[in-house]
């Protein structure tokens, strides 16, 4: 590897256009894209799904598949044009000078090869290293990415590692031959927040250590703020704004960037006094892009006859290599306060409608019960869950994967029955009644909105038919006409045009599908709605609209909303009370303010610190949890969190190792499960501080 002049850019993309060719037509995926990455610089590519950010990455790798082709422009890596390079030359570049880290670590590792073999392959190909030397290097790099017991890991197969460990292996693989450029394609999207925080730290540290340039692709603005020096915002195949992170975040010069920031829940946003502003309309399909500015139809500053007249080029904005693809950026008053958004009254909270008392759910997993072989193991999915929810209240349930939040939802819905404990809904015990045996009334009053709107609608039934079907099951309406009328009303409720009743689900976008899901959940006049990550599969700009809709329906119907999420920003924005779960235990429960300010449960503290926030004013205390979440099949003795807790040494006598902490009430309605003495709890500092403006 030759040393590259540090003053010249590592990667220069100029006016790059990439199209995919189908039988029907050419679909331009990326148009007129330019960016420059200097040595040691981290460049962020931000945008919603379908905006072409991953296509740019694959274009740099020249791996666009059979249908993709670069139709114009150039990609220069260390001065050499990649678009005209031969396959053989490219092969020498891939993996040695440019390496890539992928979104799904499990899928990107070969399931039938040991980790060591996959890692050692890289230097063996590119540096003709001997096998022993390559394995030795692999061992060093595995230790570098901070994995415990490297020798064992090298001999392991991918499925034996956890998601976080797998991603560290993928990073290690990328670093095996010290590449000059690292492309990270949503490297943490599939991981839990606390694991994500660890990976982000690692990536930053290694970038500094090896002086690697990075192209960091993400839809998460908060992450980009943490990792990158510069960023490029993409919309519908074009770069719309580029510049250094501080300038783009604080002095944005493109309406799309502005709208994006207004639609994500930053600290200070509140569902009643400062609601989010969703971007109106939908993302244009690649072959239905409007003339002129692609963002035009959704833009507040749109001027007919000017914005849709000609192709718009990237224009220089005063500042540090700052550019914007907007004709009007010099005219718009960027500091103007948000137009008066309607504020709403806080919904008063009513009677207790749902009460859980010491609810337990254990699963038995045993193999070979048929011949009596194998020991049955017990998975303690929920451990003594007690709480109550009131009418019109939003209770958020927060926790990482495997914490038992979905199991709890299943038990409440009646898809599973409780092992012990009580669920009382409207003075009725329902913990032992599976859903088949519940009365129509009970079923229709507890409904669910699911995480993935793409899988939960029947693809061969019209939207209206599916809602009517729900109405039939709930026994609503006396005739087909009545039910049809009610269905149209429900479409109004979720703000979908009435024509959508006759459409098939495939004709709808993700956000629209989720609205149908919500309409279906409310079809029987649900009193309690369990929303299991209802917006996490949606794009940022759509999330705000769907969240708003849920809030509005809740206000209207005085519904109790149980909002299951791992995204603390959105939880903070919309919930009244928050319940934090870890390994089946409720570790903290309180009002949103109580949970989000000290004293915290140590796990809540770590969780808050791990969530990336897209606001330059925020300073956070870095708390990175070591290791992975223990398996629910084999939980640690004593406190479930003791294996990763940074406060453990403050508790005298090794109490954490021995006893499950009792529930303690700190203030009215605020409870935590922790052994920490009061004086330590009161000394806790806030994790997030916002600098005064």
């Amino acid at each position: 590897m030759t040393e590259w002049d540090k003053t010249k850019p590592i990667l220069e993309i100029e006016n790059l256009s990439i199209s995919f060719f189908t039988r029907l037509r050419e679909i331009p995926a990326v148009m007129d894209f330019s960016c420059t990455v200097m040595p040691g610089e981290a460049m962020g590519l931000v945008g919603e799904s379908g905006c072409g950010k991953s296509t740019v990455a694959l274009g740099v790798m020249r791996d666009l598949g059979k249908n993709g082709r670069i139709t114009g422009g150039s990609i220069r890596f260390k001065g050499r044009d990649l678009t005209t390079m031969s396959e053989e030359d490219l092969r020498h570049l891939r993996g040695s000078e440019i390496a890539m880290i992928y979104q799904e670590p499990m899928a990107s590792l070969n399931p039938a090869m040991t980790i060591g073999a996959q890692l050692a392959e890289v230097p063996m190909i590119h540096e003709s290293m001997s096998k022993d030397a390559a394995w030795k290097l692999a061992r060093d790099i595995v230790a570098d990415v901070r994995l415990p017991d490297p020798d064992r890991i090298l001999r392991a197969y991918p499925h034996q590692l956890s998601g976080g460990q797998q991603q560290r292996i993928v990073i290690a693989m990328a670093l095996m031959s010290k590449p000059a450029l690292l492309i990270l394609d949503e490297p943490t999207t599939a991981l839990d927040v606390t694991v994500e925080a660890g990976i982000v730290d690692l990536v930053k540290e290694l970038g500094e250590k090896y002086g690697t340039s990075m192209l960091f692709i993400s839809h998460n603005l908060g992450l980009v703020l943490e990792v990158c020096d510069r960023l490029c915002v993409m919309y519908s195949g074009e770069a719309v704004e580029t510049g250094n992170v501080a300038e783009v975040f604080d002095k944005m010069r493109h309406p799309y960037t502005q709208a994006l920031f207004r639609s994500i829940p930053l600290p200070g946003a509140d569902k009643n006094s400062r609601p989010l502003v969703a971007i109106p309309g939908n993302f244009p399909l690649p072959h239905e892009r409007p003339p002129g500015c692609n963002f035009g139809p959704r833009c507040d500053y749109f001027e007919a006859g000017r914005c849709d007249a000609t192709e718009i080029r990237m224009a220089e904005v005063p500042g540090d290599r700052h550019g914007s693809r907007c004709l009007k950026f010099a005219e718009i008053d960027w500091d103007a306060p948000l137009k008066a958004v309607k504020k709403v009254e806080k919904t008063p909270v009513g009677e207790v409608v749902l009460e859980m008392d010491a609810l337990r759910k254990y699963y038995e997993v045993g193999s070979g019960k048929f011949f009596g072989g194998g020991e049955a193991k017990v998975v303690k999915a929920n451990e003594t869950l007690s709480f109550s929810a009131r009418e019109g209240e939003t209770l958020a349930i927060v926790g990482e994967s495997g914490c038992g939040k979905s199991t709890f939802a299943k038990v409440l819905m009646g898809l599973e029955t409780a092992t012990s404990g009580k669920i009382v809904m409207y003075n009725q015990d329902i913990q032992d009644t599976p859903i088949e045996k519940r009365s129509t009334d009970t079923v229709s009053s507890v409904q669910m909105v699911f995480q993935n709107p793409f899988d939960t609608l029947n693809p061969s039934m019209t939207v209206g038919r599916q809602i009517i079907r729900a109405l039939e099951i709930f026994g609503e309406g006396n005739s087909d006409e009545e039910r049809r009328a009610r269905m149209l009303e429900l479409l109004d409720l979720v703000k979908l045009p009435r024509e959508f009743g006759d459409r098939m689900p495939r004709q709808l976008s993700g956000g629209q599908k989720q609205r149908v899901g919500i309409a279906r959940a409310f079809a029987g006049g649900a009193k309690i709605v369990v929303a299991d990550e209802p917006v996490s599969a949606l794009d940022v700009s759509v999330q705000a609209a769907v969240t708003d809709l849920l809030m509005e329906i809740q206000r209207k119907n005085r519904t109790t909303l149980l909002f299951i999420s791992h995204d603390l920003s959105i939880v903070r924005y919309l919930s009244d009370r928050v319940m934090v779960m870890y390994l089946g235990h409720v570790v903290e429960l309180g009002t949103t303010d109580q949970v989000f300010s000290p004293p915290y449960h140590p796990y809540t503290e770590a969780l808050l610190s791990a969530v990336p926030i897209a606001d330059t004013r925020v300073t956070k205390k870095r708390i990175v949890l070591e290791g992975d979440i223990p398996s629910a099949m084999n939980p640690p003795p004593g406190c479930p969190f003791q294996t990763r807790c940074r406060w453990k040494s403050e508790v005298p006598g090794g109490l954490c190792d021995r006893e499950v902490p009792p529930v303690r009430h700190l203030a009215t309605g605020h409870q935590i499960k922790c052994h920490l003495p009061d004086e330590v709890l009161t000394k806790m500092e806030p994790v997030i501080t916002i600098a005064a403006e």
Binding site: M61, D63, K66, R91, H92, L93, R94, G95, S96, A99, M100, Y102, E104, A107, S108, L109, N110, P111, A112, M113, E121, V122, I125, H126, Y157, H159, Q160, V170, M173, G368, F371, G373
Partner: protein, 360 residues
């Protein structure tokens, strides 16, 4: 692993027991026994004589008893008529005193073949050895060529190579053995038709035909000349099927993300296929290949009869055609064991190929 094996062997024994009972029941139906009586005794026996013959030879007792005797868990029947004792186990120079009480499959006594007038065990041993050679050569020809065909077709989906190879695979597997066998004989093993006369004229082959149309001489000495056609007939049929399976699994693996990872690591295309894709692609066809063994038994019946090769299939046909109950029973036991053993091997091999199952 031991636990797994012993459990599997237990299930196998149970399955074998059930299946042999079904076969025993079917071969010992009333009309079959009547036919047996007439062929062993006299064709012109009256119905009364048949009944008494069946009684005299121990066939008139409850089915379950007879099954137990055949199996060797119940003592064989004895019959004392005027002082001379006859019985199931009293044969071949043994007297009532020296004969063992139980003589069934478990004691290694497979019975006497009524067609060949010899112990079934001896016939089975000989024919299985013959079929074993046939199977071995079929596998040697079929598996590598099928895998090669499948991998070549699957590594670049939709290309001309893929389409050409897929057509070949479909054509061979769509032609049953009794068709392909006849065609192959005409083309390669006829002194007047096909390519043999041409080759002989050019002096490329010393004999009159490229292959021999009958494989009887292969019983003594296997040569390319006498064994080529039967092997080819069975192998062609199975090859297409396995190749299709391999292709499907190969195309799927080639689109997997870890293949992209390997490609973007800078691995050569050849190594991507051999080192990264092949093992993953072989996991699915492996079970299919193992299931081909029992299927081969099918083909063997036709091919051995066609080429007059006195192996297992030929023996089965003889037994079935001549109402040879003991021979049929032992054939079915062998078939059951072949099926179950290959299944066991397939499960173990699957675990070996797939680390996700091996280490759990």
């Amino acid at each position: 692993m031991l636990m797994f094996l012993s459990r599997r062997l237990g299930i196998m024994a149970l399955t074998a027991l059930c299946l042999t009972f079904v076969v025993f029941f079917l071969t010992n139906l009333e009309p079959n026994l009547e036919k047996l009586a007439r062929s062993e005794g006299s064709v012109r026996m009256s119905d009364d004589q048949v009944t008494s013959w069946l009684e005299a030879n121990g066939h008139a007792r409850p089915l379950i008893m007879r099954y137990g005797e055949w199996l060797g868990v119940l003592p064989g029947w004895t019959r004392d008529v005027d002082g001379s004792v006859t019985g199931r186990c009293i044969r071949g120079g043994l007297t009532a005193e020296t004969a063992p009480t139980r003589c069934g499959v478990l004691q290694g006594n497979w019975g006497q073949s009524s067609v060949f007038k010899r112990p079934v065990g001896e016939i089975m041993g000989r024919s299985l050895a013959a079929t074993g050679w046939l199977m071995l050569w079929v596998m040697i020809v079929m598996v590598p060529s099928a895998l090669l065909l499948g991998v070549l077709a699957g590594m670049r989906e939709g290309t001309r190579t893929d389409r050409a190879l897929s057509t070949v695979a479909i054509a061979t597997t769509a032609t049953p053995e009794y068709v392909s066998g006849v065609i192959l004989i005409v083309v390669f093993a006829s002194a007047t038709a096909g390519i043999s006369p041409v080759l002989a004229e050019w002096g490329w082959i010393s004999g009159r035909t490229l292959f021999q149309g009958t494989a009887t001489s292969a019983m003594d000495k296997i040569t390319f000349w006498n064994f080529g056609l039967p092997v080819l007939t069975i192998a062609l049929y199975g090859m297409g099927y396995i190749a299709r399976m391999t292709r499907a699994s190969m195309t799927e693996v080639m689109t997997a993300q870890y293949i992209r990872t390997a490609r973007l690591k800078g691995v050569k295309f050849r190594d991507v296929v051999i080192r990264h894709a092949l093992r993953n692609a072989l996991i699915a066809p492996f079970t299919v290949i193992m299931l081909q063994f029992p299927w081969l038994l099918n083909g063997v019946v036709i091919v051995e009869t066609l080429f007059n090769y006195k192996g297992f299939g030929w023996t089965l046909v003889q037994g079935a055609g001549n109402n040879d109950i003991d021979l049929l029973l032992s054939c079915s036991v062998v078939a059951v064991i072949v099926v179950l053993v290959t299944q066991l091997i397939s499960d173990i091999g699957y675990a070996f190929l797939n680390p996700r199952i091996r280490i759990s």
